[in-house]
């Protein structure tokens, strides 16, 4: 386990059990209720909204997926400094047609920022990010020394 600074209280394990899903659903309900105002997602800056994120650890890399529907790669900035991976950006409410009325606004707009502290040594120069179908995928390769190596010990 190599990630710290996680505060949304949603760090439930991804069990496929219905109970956990229900629990997650309830958490989300409360979350979305309390998230209407300024939500401090990190110690650095408050965010207007907080995109949902998955972090998965593979043998050789971490994969971070951030749900950012409606954003293009120009709207997002990914930085890595002092073991902290930061994703920030802004989703603007674009309105091409001048005379229009909003009847319903459920989607999130505004600036956001999410930080992930990577405790394990990673190769910062090899971090790769791509955008597809509204999902930003960041691949963070592990440093050689951080890869778990299996050592066979001879029993004498």
């Amino acid at each position: 386990m190599a990630l710290i600074r996680w505060s949304r209280g949603q760090d439930l394990p991804a069990f496929p059990s219905g109970m956990v899903n229900m629990q997650r659903e309830i958490n989300r309900m409360f979350d979305s209720f309390f998230r209407t105002g300024w939500h401090a997602d990190s110690d650095l800056e408050p965010s207007a909204w907080s995109p949902a994120t998955d972090v998965v650890e593979h043998d050789n890399e971490f994969v971070v997926k951030v749900e950012l529907p409606g954003l293009s790669k120009e709207d997002v900035k990914v930085t890595f400094q002092d073991s902290v991976l930061t994703v920030r950006g802004e989703k603007r409410q674009e309105n091409e047609e001048k005379e229009s009325n909003y009847h319903r606004v459920e989607r999130s707009y505004g600036a956001f920022q999410r930080c992930f502290t990577l405790g394990q040594s990673v190769r910062g120069d090899k971090i790769d990010a791509s955008f597809k179908d509204g999902i930003l995928t960041i691949t963070v390769p592990k440093a050689e020394e951080a890869k778990e190596k299996q050592i066979d010990i001879k029993v004498r």
Binding site: M1, A2, L3, W6, R8, Q10, D11, L12, P13, A14, N21, R24, A52, T53, D54, V55, V56, E57, H58, D59, F62, V63, K65, E67, L68, P69, G70, L71, S72, N95, E97, E99, S100, N101, Y102, H103, R104, V105, E106, R107, S108, F131, D133, G134, I135
Partner: protein, 133 residues
């Protein structure tokens, strides 16, 4: 003008619209939507990140418009999930169309994880100004 728009989304909750096509075990996600009205059309924008374009369907039946889509998630046991907030499952949402929508001319586009539906108003029902002579 604002009153006309309400009929488009009288009932927006789709949970009870689940039919045999959606697996009972799959989680149903109701995508967030913005509804915008211009003088000529209604615009529906739905956040459906991770849905494959091929898997999105927009169906019309009677007064209802149903949007479906499915997300693809990796099911790899060799990975360790550190945390998981992104919900995977089936997107499903139903809207009720107003009588002023021209059903023949509905257009759908999917870009950057957002499905945009353009529902043009019927020509005969568009507001028009009558010149006083």
């Amino acid at each position: 003008m604002t009153h006309q728009g309400k009929s488009v989304v009288r009932r927006a909750d789709a949970e009870n619209a689940l039919d045999g096509r959606a697996k009972s075990t799959a989680i149903v996600i109701s995508p967030s939507a913005d509804v915008l009205e211009t003088s000529g059309a209604y615009l529906l924008m739905l956040d459906m990140p991770g849905a494959a374009k091929e898997g999105i369907s927009v169906a019309m039946e009677g007064e209802s418009l149903t949007v479906r889509g499915s997300t693809e998630r990796l099911q790899n046991n060799e990975t360790e999930v550190l945390f998981s907030e992104i919900r995977s499952g089936t997107y499903l949402r139903e809207f009720t169309l107003g009588r002023d929508v021209d059903r023949e001319k509905i257009e759908a586009t999917y870009e950057q994880g957002v499905l945009t539906l353009r529902l043009p108003k019927k020509e005969s029902l568009k507001p028009r100004e009558i010149t006083v002579r």
